[in-house]
Symmetry: C2
Subunit: 345 residues, 2 copies
C-alpha cells in the first residue's frame, strides 16, 4: 500500500488524497530515497519522451537535418498545441520533406481549454500538429529519414508507430539501454499516440534519468544525445509544454538544474544533473494535474539546492492555495508530511 | 484503508486504481451494503443539491412562483451551461424579478469543453448563468423571494450564500433533517459556489437519499418536496447535467427508478425508490469523471432490477472500453471485482 503523497484540503479538513510512490536514484543505481513500491512496473507514458528522442540525436538525424533547439525540445514534449508549437512541428516536418499527413499520432483538441477556445474562436479545428505528441512523432519521422536514407521516405515511414518498424525498434532499444530493464518481459500496452508503451519499475526509470542527467552508464552516443536534448530543452522550455504548464515554468525558473517531464496517468520523471540524481513518481490513481505536479515540486525542493527565490517559487507549486470562482480561499493542495519527511536530507 | 473500487487498465495491466467507500442504506437506517469506511465525514459537495433544494418546494416558493419541471430540475443541477440551461435559469430569475447580477455563485467557463468552444466560436464569454450551480442559486433566490415577502428583495437576498442568512439557514436545516447528522459538529468548508459545505459520513448521506426516495423519516412537507423534485428531474433529466453527462443519460434511460447526482471530488449519491434504498459513494482521490461514475454504474447494476437492455446500457458505463486518438482499443475502465462481490445480492 503506497502512502499518501498529496492532500487536497477544504478548510481544515482533508477532502481527498493521492497515494503513490517515488524513487530517487543516482547514476550508479543506488537508491537515495524510496517512498512506496518502486519495484512494480508502471507505464511511464510521456514522461520518457526524452529517452524516446535519444535516437533522434544518436542516429545522426538531428545533425543531418540541422535541427535547432526548438525542434529538439519539442521532440521531448507534451505540448499545448499553441501556435508556437504547431509552427515548430510543421518546420521539422518540412526538413524531412513530409507534412502533417505523415504523422500517425492522431488528432485531438489541445488539452489546455483556453487554447481550444482560441482555435474555436478563430473558426479552426485541430489537426495532428495540435496533438500533444506531434513533436515526438516529427522526431520519429526525422529518424526514419536517416534510417531509410535513399528509400522513398513516405513509404518507408508508413507504420512507424508499429513495434517492428526500424524507427520504433531504435526507440525501444534506447529505452532499454537507458532503463536497464528487460523490455521483452515488460507488460506492454498501446500509448495514446499509438506507439508501444512498456511497464517499467520506478527504480529503473529514476536510474535512467540519473543517467540522462550525468551520462554515466550510457554508451557515448546516447550520453551525447542526452546532453544535447537536455540543453535544447533548457534553452527552449516553452516548447516542452507551454503557457502556464509546470514543466515549462519550472525549467524557465531553474534552467539546466532540472529536466522534468510529466506523463499521463500521474507519472513524472526528472533528471537533477547538479546532484547526479534521477527521480520517478507514479500517483496510484493517475492524477497528473494536481497530484504528480505537487509531488514533483516537493521532490525538487528537497533534492535541489535552491536559493530563497527559487525555494519560494517551488513552494508555491508544492503548497498551493485554492480559491473558488469568487476568489474566496477554500483550501489547499499540498505535499503530505510523509512525503516531506521521507525526502528530508 | 478503503479498497479499490475502479481500475484503469492498459492492455492487460492495471495502470491506475481508485480507492473509495460506498454506503447503501434503507430508509430505516439499516445498512444494506458497506464498502470501506462509511463513518468518516466527507464533503458531499454538489451531490446533495436535491437536499439543498427541499426548501424551494417546502417553503411554498415553487408554488408561489409557478416553477415548472425544468426549473425545479435545474435547481438540483450541476449543469453544462448549454443554451437550454442558461435559458431556464434566466427564466427562473425573471419570476423573482431579479436577474443574473443577483447570482452569487461566480462565473466559470462551462466544464464541458465542446460547450466552451461553442461559446468562444460565437464570440461570447460566460457569465454567472453558465456556472454549473446557477440553477441551485436561482432556487435560493426563489426561497429568498418567499422568506423575504414584502421586503426589498434585492437588499434582502444580498449575501444569501452566507451561513447566517435566512435562506442558507433553511437550506442547512433541510440538510440536517434529511441526513440526521448534527451539522453543528460537522467539519465545515466553503464550496466552489461560496455556500457553506459540511462534512457528513457516507452512512448518513445514503440514509438521506433513502428518505428522499421513499419519504420515510421526513416531515410531511419535506417528503412532499422530495417527491416533487424527483418527479421534476425524472421528467427533465437534461436539466440536471446535460449533453453526454452520466446523470442525464442514466435518468433518461431509467426514469424515476434512479435519482442520481454527482458531486465534486469523487462524490456520488443516489436514491433508488423502487427498492427503498439510498446510495452514497466517495472516491478517496476525488476523481469524478471516471471513478465515481463507474462505481455508481456498478452499484445501480447491482441494486436495481434491470431488464436486458437497461443492464447492457449500465454495463457500458461500469465497464468502459478505452480507445486512443486513432480509435485503437488501448484499455478499459471498470468496476473492481471487489466492488461487484461486495454488492452482489
Amino acid at each position: 500500500m503506497n502512502p499518501v503523497l498529496v492532500e487536497a484540503m477544504r478548510g481544515n479538513t482533508r477532502e481527498s488524497a493521492h497515494r503513490g510512490a517515488i524513487a530517487v536514484l543516482d547514476a550508479d543505481g543506488s537508491i537515495v530515497a524510496a517512498i512506496g513500491d518502486i519495484e512494480r512496473p508502471i507505464f511511464p507514458r510521456s514522461a520518457v519522451k526524452v529517452l524516446q528522442a535519444l535516437p533522434l540525436v544518436d542516429s545522426g538525424a538531428a545533425e543531418q537535418l540541422g535541427l535547432d533547439d526548438e525542434e529538439l525540445a519539442i521532440a521531448c514534449a507534451s505540448h499545448n498545441g499553441e501556435p508556437a508549437h504547431t509552427t515548430v512541428v510543421a518546420r521539422m516536418l518540412r526538413k524531412t520533406g513530409l507534412d502533417v499527413n505523415a504523422l500517425e499520432c492522431g488528432t485531438h483538441w489541445p488539452y489546455r481549454e483556453s487554447v481550444q477556445r482560441e482555435l474555436a474562436a478563430a473558426g479552426t479545428a485541430p489537426n495532428a500538429l495540435h496533438n500533444n505528441c506531434s513533436g515526438k512523432h516529427a522526431g520519429f519521422l526525422c529518424v526514419a529519414c536517416r534510417l531509410g536514407a535513399g528509400l522513398d521516405l513516405r513509404q518507408y515511414a508508413k507504420g512507424y508507430v508499429g513495434p517492428a518498424h526500424p524507427v520504433m525498434r531504435a526507440v525501444t532499444a534506447a529505452l532499454q539501454a537507458a532503463t536497464g530493464f528487460d523490455l521483452e518481459r515488460a507488460p506492454r500496452g498501446t500509448d495514446g499516440c499509438s506507439i508501444p508503451t512498456f511497464a517499467i519499475p520506478l527504480r529503473h526509470l529514476a536510474h535512467a534519468f540519473a543517467r540522462v542527467g550525468t551520462g554515466t552508464g550510457l554508451a557515448p552516443g546516447l550520453a551525447r544525445a542526452a546532453k544535447r536534448l537536455r540543453e535544447a530543452v533548457a534553452r527552449q522550455p516553452f516548447m516542452v509544454a507551454g503557457s502556464g504548464r509546470f514543466d515549462t515554468i519550472v525549467m524557465q525558473a531553474l534552467g539546466e538544474r532540472v529536466f522534468c517531464k510529466v506523463g499521463a496517468e500521474g507519472v513524472f520523471c526528472a533528471a537533477l544533473p547538479e546532484r547526479g540524481l534521477g527521480v520517478a513518481i507514479k500517483i496510484d490513481d493517475g492524477n497528473n494535474a494536481r497530484a504528480a505536479e505537487v509531488a514533483m515540486a516537493a521532490t525538487i525542493e528537497s533534492c535541489v539546492d535552491l536559493d530563497d527565490a527559487a525555494a519560494r517559487f517551488m513552494r508555491g507549486l508544492s503548497d498551493v492555495t485554492l480559491h473558488n470562482w469568487n476568489g474566496i480561499e477554500v483550501g489547499a493542495l499540498r505535499a503530505s508530511d510523509g512525503l516531506r519527511d521521507a525526502l528530508r536530507r
